[in-house]
Amino acid sequence: MAQHTLEVIVENSPGVLARVAGLFSRRAYNIERLSVGPTDNPETSKMDIVVNLEGHALEQVIAQLDKLINVIAIKEIVPNSAQPIVHDTQPDYQN
């Protein structure tokens, strides 16, 4: 079982916690820990999610999370690494 830590920037809209929690439950991803806090921008919040993955690829979890309209950006926090890995399957394509 592999543990991953994700830092997820979400729009500060009602229901966003339910969306994220619901996604994890519906797709049978195990949340180890989840905390929500403010960011410098009052329009966004930051979720720190520790997820235990068995049989699910991390990319799949991230891709499904990123499909939520209210999810703006996802970073994977890798231990012992100064720079988090930024995952964004929907970067700012202007086409």
Binding site: G15, Q60, Q90, D92, Y93
Partner: protein, 578 residues
């Protein structure tokens, strides 16, 4: 900007979004909106059940490519939309649902007709909104239409508290929509296209695995060019029937649980799947670990989460399929000019399978009607421009198998959710979207009894659809499984009678013409009679043999290698060069 109440702002927003028709039923919480609807240019079709409104919006969207709209009140009105919205989500159909909600002060108090429809639809809706401030209505509507119709299409629900509809507000429809967390990718990366083209030139057994995404992206013409360029066989999934003409020599038909031997086997034996807008659904792959084990995979899709979900993709082409296929054509031309693989042996193999194992059926020897024959004649007599909408069950599979689909958006069905009751309301929506086209619902006797009340809607609103009931007096598909996997113990699958209900009388009661047919020699004349009635909906009760089965069959959870062409009969693999 102008002053108006939230309800008028909602209707003005829907008009600004380009809505020309919506399907719905009023009630307390949504009532303020029905006042401006009364004088709006938008045609509102009053359905008989909200499920019908949702499927009608879906049928309309599938035929026109535009967003379908349904509207309902709070509580039971909204929960009745759950099935069609889940259906639209599974089949990626752009639908916007508007629901009234109890007044904002009452939310959370278990007020009369309160249901948390935003929470209920959260697991499957592409997105949803709960609006309590009338100032938010235009933006929410603009975003809902944008989200529903772009990227991978899907249903979006906008739930609006009654007081937000009543309060005064300024109306200004946004000129553009920008969402921080939603920017679907249109054009694929150039590298992915080159990689895909290179992989194709290294393949000697490629198959185009075509899914419903090709139809959603209106990419049939591009697909035709690409397929002809490579000259590789094509399979069209249940959601993709019509994306590539059935009459084309490269088309092997439908893959999957009830697919053709040629389509199923071509995927199994391929060394490359050129996957276009398909999602490796279990009904296509069978047992995943044994699916196309020797194949590399190119996976082109607009939804990043489909890549690698069920099957690893060697090359992912992320983008709108119309752009992606259009980009692949010149890249492949260039790559093929340097290195053109020889597909002759492969084509000989798949064509041999196609010739040896065509779809077929036995005519009953007792003079009763073969359901497949009825459906085959419907397709032939009605012609390739006709739109068909099927229910769910055996008749659905036969409608996919025995009608030749030549054009995209002519085959509608509930593929992902498998919703009994889809056909009649979806056909209604389709006919509204394409009033000059013949629309046939091919429905089961079981399915028909779930949503036939929309025929009243059709009769009263000049929506002359045609319905063929494939009346086998049973929940045939479930019965077939009982025959094959439960030793013929027919627990609760018999509908007991071909006469109760009396479908032609029921049709007449709803303002339709009711016909019936039970002899093979009467089929053509009955269909022609129905074809000649264009000012009223027509229902034909085809009383067919009860025990017909759908073949081929890959049992649920079994490997596609174990496809059966009849009971306990596998294809004769030894005689095939594979």
């Amino acid at each position: 900007m102008s002053q108006m109440n939230g309800a008028s702002s909602l209707v003005a927003s829907l008009e600004a979004a380009g809505v020309d028709v919506m399907f719905g039923i009023p009630g307390g919480a949504i009532l303020p909106a029905y006042d401006p609807i009364f004088s709006s240019s938008i045609r509102h079709i009053l359905v008989r059940h909200e499920q019908g409104a949702g499927h009608a919006a879906t049928g309309y969207a599938q035929v026109t490519g535009r967003v379908g709209v349904c509207i309902a009140t709070s509580g039971p009105g909204a929960t009745n939309l759950v099935t069609p919205l889940a259906d639209a989500a599974m089949d990626s159909v752009p639908v916007v649902a508007i629901t009234g909600q109890v007044p904002s002060v009452a939310i959370g108090t278990d007020a009369f007709q309160e249901a948390d429809i935003r929470g209920i639809t959260m697991p499957f809706a592409k997105h949803n909104y709960l609006i309590t401030d009338p100032a938010d209505i235009p933006r929410a509507i603009a975003e809902a239409f944008h989200i529903a119709s772009t990227g991978r299409p899907g249903p979006v629900l906008v739930d609006i508290a009654k007081d937000a509809l009543q309060k005064m507000t300024e109306f200004a429809y946004p000129t553009s929509v920008s969402l921080k967390g939603y920017k679907p990718k249109l054009a694929p990366d150039a590298q992915s296209i080159t990689d895909a083209a290179d992989l194709i030139t290294q393949s000697s057994k490629p198959v185009f695995y075509v899914g419903g995404g090709v139809i959603k992206a209106d990419a049939s013409r591009e697909l035709m060019e690409l397929a002809q360029l490579l000259g590789a066989p094509v399979v069209t999934t249940l959601m993709a029937r019509g994306a590539f003409p059935d009459s084309h020599p490269l088309n092997l038909g439908m893959p999957g649980m009830h697919g053709t031997v040629a389509a199923v086997t071509a995927l199994q034996k391929a060394d490359l799947l050129i996957t276009l807008g398909a999602r490796f659904d279990d009904r296509v792959t069978g047992k995943l670990s044994t699916f196309a084990v020797n194949a590399k995979v190119i996976h082109a899709d607009v939804d990043p989460a489909e890549i690698g979900k069920n099957r690893f993709a060697d090359v992912a082409v992320l983008g709108d399929l119309k752009h992606s296929i259009a980009a692949l054509i010149p890249a492949l031309k260039f790559a093929l000019a340097k290195n053109r693989p020889d597909l002759t042996a492969w084509l000989r193999q798949v064509n041999s399978l196609k010739a040896t194992y065509p779809l077929g059926y036995a005519m009953p020897t007792d003079g009763s009607l073969a359901p497949q024959y009825v459906i085959e004649r419907l397709g032939k007599i009605s012609g390739p421009e006709t739109i068909f909408a099927a229910g769910v069950g055996q008749h659905q599979m036969w409608a996919s198998q025995f009608v030749s689909y030549e054009n995209p958006r002519t085959w509608l069905n509930s593929g992902g959710l498998g919703t009994m009751g889809y056909a009649v309301p979806a056909a209604m929506g389709a006919k509204v979207g394409a009033p000059d086209t013949t629309v046939w619902a091919i429905d089961g006797d079981g399915c028909f009894q779930m949503t036939n009340q929309e025929l009243t809607t059709c009769a009263l609103n000049n929506i002359p659809i045609k319905v063929a009931i494939i009346n086998n007096e049973s929940l045939g598909m479930v019965r077939q499984w009982q025959t094959l996997f439960y030793e013929g113990r027919y627990s609760n699958t018999s509908l007991e009678s071909k006469r109760i209900p009396n479908f032609p009388m029921l049709a007449e009661a709803m303002g339709c013409v009711g016909l019936s047919c039970e002899r093979p020699e009467d089929v053509d004349a009955t269909i022609e009679k129905a074809m000649n009635i264009n000012d009223q909906p027509v229902v034909v009760d085809f009383r067919v043999a009860r025990d017909a089965m759908v073949w081929p069959l890959v049992a649920a959870g079994a490997s596609n290698d174990d496809i059966m062409i009849a009971r306990e009969t596998a294809p004769d693999w030894d005689s095939q060069e594979l």
